[in-house]
Structures are given as C-alpha cells and as structure tokens.
Symmetry: C2
Subunit: 342 residues, 2 copies
C-alpha cells in the first residue's frame, strides 16, 4: 500500500483515478469536469472534491483525440512583428469568448509559413487565422478548401479565404483630413515601395488630397518600410525651396526617420513641420517620439477574424467574406497648426 502509493504519486492522476476516488464512473467524471448537464449536484460535488484532492488535470492530447470537435483555431504569426504580438493578444480574448482555444505557430528565419501551417493542420485545428500571410492567393485558396481560412491585414484577391483588414486608404485619408484641418496645404507623402499594402495607403493619400482640392500639392517621395528611407525622403523634401509643412509616411519606422532628420536639422516639430506615421506601433508611443499615427484597431480586427471563423464553423456560412475595419487616427505630439504665413 505504501509502496504503491509512492509509485502512484509519481504518475499524473488520470480520469480513472478521480473516478475511483469519488466512487463513480469515468463517464460521470468527464461529464462533471466539462460542465455538461446530467450528473446530480451530489455527484458533481464528490467529483469536484476528488479531482481537487488529487490535483487532477485533464490530458489535452487524449481529450483532443477523443473529442468530436477540437474547438481549436490555429494562428500563424511572425514572432518578430510587434503588430502581430498585439494581434495575438487580442485573438486570445476573442477566441475565448466563443469557447475556442488557440494553437500558435510562428514564422521565424528558419521556419517558413508553409511549415507553420502544416504544424497546425496536424494539430487538429478546425480553422486557420493567418496574420499577414505571404503565400500567394492560389495557395491560400487551396488551403481554404481543407478548412476555413481567414487572412488578416492583407487583401487577398481571387477569393475563397475570408479577409479581415483595415481600410488603409481611409486611414491615410484621416491623416490628411487632420492636417488640412490644422491649416496645412503642402502635405507630402513618403511612399512604402511596391506591394499591395503600400499601394492602398498611397491611393488614400492621393484621393484625400484631391478631395480637399489639393491635387496641385500632391507630392509622393519614394521610400520603403525602414526608417532610413524616411530620413532620406526628409532630406530630399527639405532641400527644396518650398518644402512641405506636413509629411505623412507609409509607416511609423519611416516617420521616425523623418523625425530624426528634422530634429538633427533643428526643425521644430510640430512648430514648423507636422509628421504623421502609420501603425501605432510601440515605437510611436515612446514618450520622446510621441508620434501622431494611424491605428489599426487590433482588437476589432481579431474579433472580426474570430467571428468569421465561428460563422463558418458553427453557423454554416459558406459564402466568402471580406471585412474592412475603419482605422483610427491617434493624435499625439508631432502634429500641430500649420506655421503662419506660408
């Protein structure tokens, strides 16, 4: 007895141990622990007691295998991206509300999106949420034939997969509105390079400027996603004899580059020049950067993503869906009234 006890204590208690301890069947224990209606309150109590006494923890692998449905959503993220980090925080909450659990799989230097997805497929996920997927649309469509897939943050043509993304053009539009409201007219835009996301933001700038009848002041400078390109663009912009009074950039990193050049040049921000970024990244929140920027409401994004999954899984929806979430301008310290007399 003692020896047995000693041996047994090394082993994790199983459902059967709890059943024995409570003097009921494993079926009852399973029902009670999952909160399924049926067992009497007397049984409930005994089972709960026994489980607590033994420190029982259900084995996920076994439970997963036995369960009809896994209620698991696979999420592919890039662990290097702070924005993905934000999204992951929010997807956790959203999934929980619907009674789903998550399996995370990350892309790294040595582990591409394909690998990340395969791991999830092997883990009984019922649906996939891909954060900023890089695979071509055709591959995503193929995946979608296996299980519901939603792409977050990136438009995917040739549909099939659901898409949840922010209205980037509108976001830049809001930035323009904000600046125009502050009296700015010469508003330049630092581009983000090729790609579908940069294109959307650029378009937003152009449209908003025209909407304000400022088509004559349109000025797009080449750039990419790094801060160095912002610095370069700023040098170019402010070498002219009629420089802009405001600059909108493709993203926050580029904006930080612009800010740095201005700061080094002794240009007052926002006194002489206003700067707006895009992403509301942790960078922009650094107290001494304090960048006005455009936020993609990650909470809303992920709520929609999870909702899309749940509708297809539990609601039987089959039609493709694209949700476009409005972004939100976050006004911080790098924007102010246009300087007088220019």
């Amino acid at each position: 007895m003692v020896v047995l006890g000693a041996e047994e204590s090394l082993r994790r208690p199983r459902l059967q141990d709890v059943a024995a301890e409570a003097g009921v069947s494993t079926a009852s224990v399973s029902l009670v622990l999952r909160g399924v209606a049926g067992p009497s309150s007397a049984t409930r109590e005994r089972v709960l007691d026994a489980a607590a006494r033994l420190g029982y923890r259900p084995d996920r692998a076994a439970s997963l295998l036995a369960r009809r449905r896994s209620r698991l959503i696979g999420v592919v993220m890039d662990v290097r991206s702070t924005f993905h980090a934000q999204l992951v925080e929010d997807v956790h909450e959203a999934a929980e509300e619907h009674g789903y659990d998550l399996v995370l799989s990350t892309v790294t230097r040595t582990r591409d999106e394909g690998r990340a997805v395969e791991t999830l497929l092997d883990s009984r996920c019922e649906a996939l949420v891909l954060l900023g997927p890089e695979a071509p649309a055709s591959r995503l469509s193929a995946l979608d034939r296996q299980l519901p897939v939603v792409a977050v943050g990136r438009p995917v043509p040739s549909a099939g997969v659901d898409v949840v993304r922010a209205a980037d053009d509108e976001g830049v539009g809001q930035a323009v509105d904000h600046l125009v409201g502050l009296g700015h007219r010469r508003i330049a835009y630092v581009d983000g390079g090729p790609g579908v996301i940069p294109a959307g933001r650029r378009r937003g700038y152009q449209r908003a400027m025209r909407r304000h009848r400022l088509g004559g002041h349109l000025q797009v400078v080449a750039g990419d996603h790094g801060e160095e390109s912002g610095a370069r663009a700023a040098r170019e912009l402010f070498a002219s004899d009629l420089p802009p009074t405001a600059v909108i950039t493709y993203n926050d990193r580029s904006a930080v580059g612009v800010l740095d050049t201005l700061l080094r040049g002794g240009v007052d921000v926002p006194g002489a020049v206003s700067v707006v970024g895009y992403d509301d990244s942790p960078l922009s929140r650094l107290a001494h950067v304090d960048l006005t920027t455009v936020s993609q409401d990650s909470g809303q994004l992920m709520r929609h993503a999870v909702a899309a999954v749940v509708e297809r899984l539990d609601g039987g929806r089959t039609a493709h869906r694209e949700v476009v979430v409005p972004p939100r301008l976050v006004v911080r310290g790098t924007t102010g009234p246009a300087p007088a007399g220019v």
Copy 2:
C-alpha cells in the same frame, strides 16, 4: 466506388488507409513513417508511395497520446517582448537539433504566467523553458519537482531549477572598458530601478569603475526601464557644471531617452558625449539611433537552455545547473573618443 471515393476524400486519410493502400499492416506503416529500422526497403517504398498518393499526414494528437515520450518542450514567452521573439527563433533551432519539438505558450495582458504554464503541463511537455519568468523562486522550485524547468535570463536563488542567463555585470563592465579605452573618465550610469536584473548591471558598473581606479567618478542616477526615465536622467546629469562625458544606461529604451534629450539640447553624440545601452534591441539597430549596446547572445542562451533540458531528460542529470553566458559589446555609432581637454 465513385460515391465512396467522394465521401472518403473528405476525411483525412488515417494510418489504416495508408496500410490498406500499401497492402501492409498499420504497424509497418508507423515504423516506416517514423524512420524506425526494421521494415525492408521494398516495404518502405510501397508505404512511402501509398502515403504520398493519399497525402497522408500523421495526427499529432493521436501520436502524442500513443507515444511513450512526447519529445515536447514547452516554452513560455511574453509575446510583447522583442527579446523573447529573438529567443524563440533560436530555441526552435536548438530544439530541432536535439529532435525535440516545441509548444509555445504566451503571456499576454489577460493571460498570466500561471495560465501559460498550465496549458503546457496539460500538453504533455517533458520540460519547460521559461523566458524571463516572473514567478517567485518558490513557485519555480515547486514546478521543477514536476518536470525539468529552466529559467532563461533571470537569476533564480534557492535553486532547483536550472538557470541560463547572461553575465549582466560583465556586460556593463565591457561597456566601461570600452569607454575607458576611448579616454573617458567621467562615466555615469542610469539605473534600472529595483529588481535583481537592474542590481546586477549596477554592480557591474560599480566594480568596473573601481577596477579602473575611477571610483571617484562613480555616478548612478535613478531610472527605470522606460525611455522617459533616461530623458529625465540626462536632464539631471547635464544640468551639473561638470557633466559626464559618457553615459551607460540600464537598457536601450533608457538610452534612447538619453539620446533624445542630448539631441534636443544640441549636444553632439558621440563628439561631446558617448552613450551605451543594453539589450541590442531592434530599437538600437534603427539606423538613426545606431546605439552602442550590449548584446546577450540569444542563440547561445537558447542552445544552453535546450542542452540543459536534454541533459536532464536524456542524460539523467539531476544536479542543479546555472550557465552564465558572456555578453558581447556591440559598438555602433554612439560612442567615440572622449572630448579633448576635459
């Protein structure tokens, strides 16, 4: 046949389907697919063919349940930390080399370390790697009695759990050496607040200064982990009439605060003042920050962490172990020769 085919094609093929297709038993298929010695090469080929033809993918949950050992290492990270992101990339590689797989569990706003650990315990992990754990040493020790635990990046007194961390004091020491080598003598340190990690770095500064017989120039200014504290510390330091010619900070964020204050004050960096951070975070690599900083070799850190796990799991080690990895000074653009004549 056609109807059956249509129905069947919806179901994922199982081991049995492959066995049937290849005309062998499931046991053989299992052996072949796992690369276990035994099956003849003829059998191997037929099985591999059949598996490929059906697009078979093993079910992880089932495999996990049936396997004696899971060969799974659980990793707890904070998804918000860029340093953890780096560590996760490296732990993937290290684990793979030893034939282990990973399960990631992340801490978020709404999901604390305890929850993250529980998920892993329920997932059949054989060992836990905790990145920068926050739990008290007692809790970690308790956990360690259930399964091998290694804490990364944080010293844990009252041992039991293995520890892998960088020699922070030595890192700051290297920074001091570097600055002294450049002719600096009035080297100030911006502190990181309470806690065991800040304490280690502070100690490193003090010792190194004394080692260079600069004890008389010791100057520690209060601060914390944010950039605002760095900015404040810089204002304090440079209000004095004999300001330092170099500043070392607790971390990169603090250093960025210092840099910002200096830049706004028109102080030339590194001409008039040199600045050194700590962490080699992505922040420090931004081209216009280009901060000299101390890097904790994450690759080495994680290789040691995984090695520690493997030794306990496969090597039968039971003795506690603490590995201290030397950090590395990364010289970038914010440090230079001490200004002449001061």
